[in-house]
């Protein structure tokens, strides 16, 4: 029987089950419970979006910790603890804040194993919110995951369904490498689907073919998977069948599946909510232009926002985010190329 839960619930459940199964898992971040050092209730918020609510009452303050606003210390604490026997889940409230703590991720966690000749193991998970859609403007709406994918030594997960979210987050916690887990803030409540109750892990580096279709391959991530699906519905009515591929993890990236798909359909567009330069769109387009060139029947389009910060006004933000209409236009252009 279907058990439909939201991405919000899937995350909470995944963390809860990981903490139940492994006493070395701890959770830390600003207001992840809420109320530390305050006169009123504990677990007041359960994270700024309420995602981790209920975990502190269950696991106690030694395992679920509010922190000062000191992202470098939070990240470093998690990374250093991971290299010392724990499996911390640290929250970077919004990915936009990486600018005050990226060193601990990029130069420490990511490089320990290599720099130390294979001797270190750093099983840390960093959960962070991405994406536009809440009129939160330039410093709370970015995606930025391409910058993380750029760095060798970390893994990057970017789920699009509640099912994937749970399985990938459990895998992230069990994984022995540092993992950055990107959660699109708008999807917490926007996305719900069928999720098993018991714990399960989805392996990294395995793309999911979300929709079948023989005319064109659309690679999309996170919220863009849903925008692509909307576009595909419209296009299907026009007789264009889109195949939609969700890589689920962008580092590692399931190159084989993407290449196979493009070889089947001969056409590719990539939809990426991140800024357009050096993003996953270009990364995947370059992959196809290298490995599936012979099969390509049309130019590869990347549908991304323009090269601008995220604006505040709702009208502008909407124009910023790739829409089903823009995706459909790109598909039509690609499918009709040369015709």
């Amino acid at each position: 029987m279907a058990r439909i839960i939201s991405m919000r619930k899937a995350i909470n459940e995944a963390i809860r089950q990981c903490m139940e199964e492994d006493p070395t898992v701890i959770l830390l971040g600003e207001d992840v419970a809420g109320g530390e050092g305050s006169p009123g209730a504990d677990d007041a918020w359960g994270g700024d979006m309420g995602i981790t609510k209920g975990l502190q009452p269950q696991f106690g303050k030694d395992r679920v910790m509010d922190t000062p606003i000191s992202e470098s210390a939070i990240m470093g604490c998690a990374v250093g603890a991971a290299a010392s026997g724990l499996r911390p889940i640290a929250e970077l409230m919004f990915v936009d804040f990486m600018g005050v703590c990226f060193d601990q991720i990029m130069n420490q966690a990511a490089k320990f194993r290599y720099m130390f000749g294979g001797k270190a193991q750093t099983p840390v998970v960093i959960r962070t919110q991405i994406g536009a859609g809440y009129n939160a403007a330039a410093q709370h709406s970015q995606c930025l995951y391409p910058m993380f994918a750029h760095i060798p030594g970390i893994k990057c997960v970017i789920p699009s369904s509640a099912y994937d979210t749970k399985g990938l987050l459990i895998q992230a916690v069990r994984d022995n490498d540092p993992v950055i887990f990107f959660e699109h803030k708008v999807m917490y409540d926007e996305v719900s689907d069928d999720v098993p109750k018991e714990a399960y892990a989805i392996p990294f580096g395995e793309a999911n073919i979300v929709r079948d279709g023989g005319d064109i391959t659309i690679v999309a991530m996170a919220r863009m998977v849903h925008k692509a699906k909307e576009a595909a519905e419209v296009l299907a009515r026009e007789g264009i069948e889109c195949q939609i591929v969700d890589p689920r993890t962008i580092s590692p990236l399931d190159e084989d599946t993407i290449i196979e798909c493009v070889e089947e359909t001969g056409r590719l567009i990539v939809v990426d909510e991140a800024y357009p330069r050096c993003n996953m769109g270009t990364d995947i387009a370059a992959l196809a232009a290298r490995e599936a060139f012979g099969a390509l029947k049309a130019p590869i389009q990347v549908v991304s926002p323009p090269h601008v910060p995220v604006p505040f006004a709702p009208e502008l933000e909407e124009a910023f985010i790739p829409s089903p209409e823009k995706i459909a236009d790109a598909v039509r252009k690609t499918v009709s190329y040369g015709a």
């Binding site: 305050s38 509010d66 939160a136």
Partner: protein, 328 residues
Amino acid sequence: MASGAGMQLSRDKLLEAYRTMRTIRDFEERVHDEFEAGNLPGFVHLYAGEEASAVGVCLHLDDQDRICSTHRGHGHCIAKGCDVEGMWKELWGSSEGLCAGKGGSMHIADLSKGMMGANAIVGGGPPLAVGAAMAAKTLKTGKVAVTFTGDGGSNQGTTFESMNFASVFKLPVLFVFENNGYAETTGSGWSVACGDIVNRAPAFGMPGVQVDGFDFFAVHDAVGEAVERARAGEGPTLIEVKFGRFYGHHEGDNQSYRGPDEVEILRRDHDCLKLFRNRVTEAGLLSDSDLDAIDQETADLMDRCVEAAKNAPRPTPDQLTTDVYISY
């Protein structure tokens, strides 16, 4: 506690102080209402209850002095002279907003008024204020910079660095810590390991002073001295302003982490506007009718502004890609 210099302000300055504090309060109360009514997009953080800080500081500054603000920036904007109608339009996301609708509440700014921006990055402002102070020092303008930071932001590495940096270069900058007891839900007595933020001043080789943030005159006096020192080339000062906020962290906050009756007591006994009124009327400096007139004035102003914002033009899609660069 007893305020000296502030009480000797001219009648005009006293009126200005009250008018500005009242404008902020009315602005915030109205934002609260409009947000609740679903009229305002985005995240908003209200400054109500903290007005004596922004105004006690900014009354010492002119348009060439610069401030850096936080996510809780409306009060600083108004105190620094930003156009209130422009602010309303900005919150509404209009293309006529102070930032053309691109910034919103958390990025509101007007450089021509010396307001270098709200900042949605906690600890984002202090390094920038250091820069403004460096410019003042290099260009020998005699101007100062002020950065407002919360108790939560006081724990950010960028903030610490900025204090040391400013002290090393003896820059004309004030580090004003608005300690309202909470960073979101987290108590400042817990997150600031040394208890009071003022205890950090010696670590950065600068004087520190703690003031009652409900008392406009206390803030005004302490800042006056610090600004003088800064203008005289004697370097930065740390000022901790202690008080509480009347609303939640942001609109929508359940506030369950707060004590029972906490807000009621704040509003009843620690309202900077009431305290100001009592002080100046008791001292015979201003009359109740002077102040009542201002109350009416600011109430009217809000009505006008909200009306204007509601009817203000919306941004058009082509504006999405403008003003990223000067040239590209």
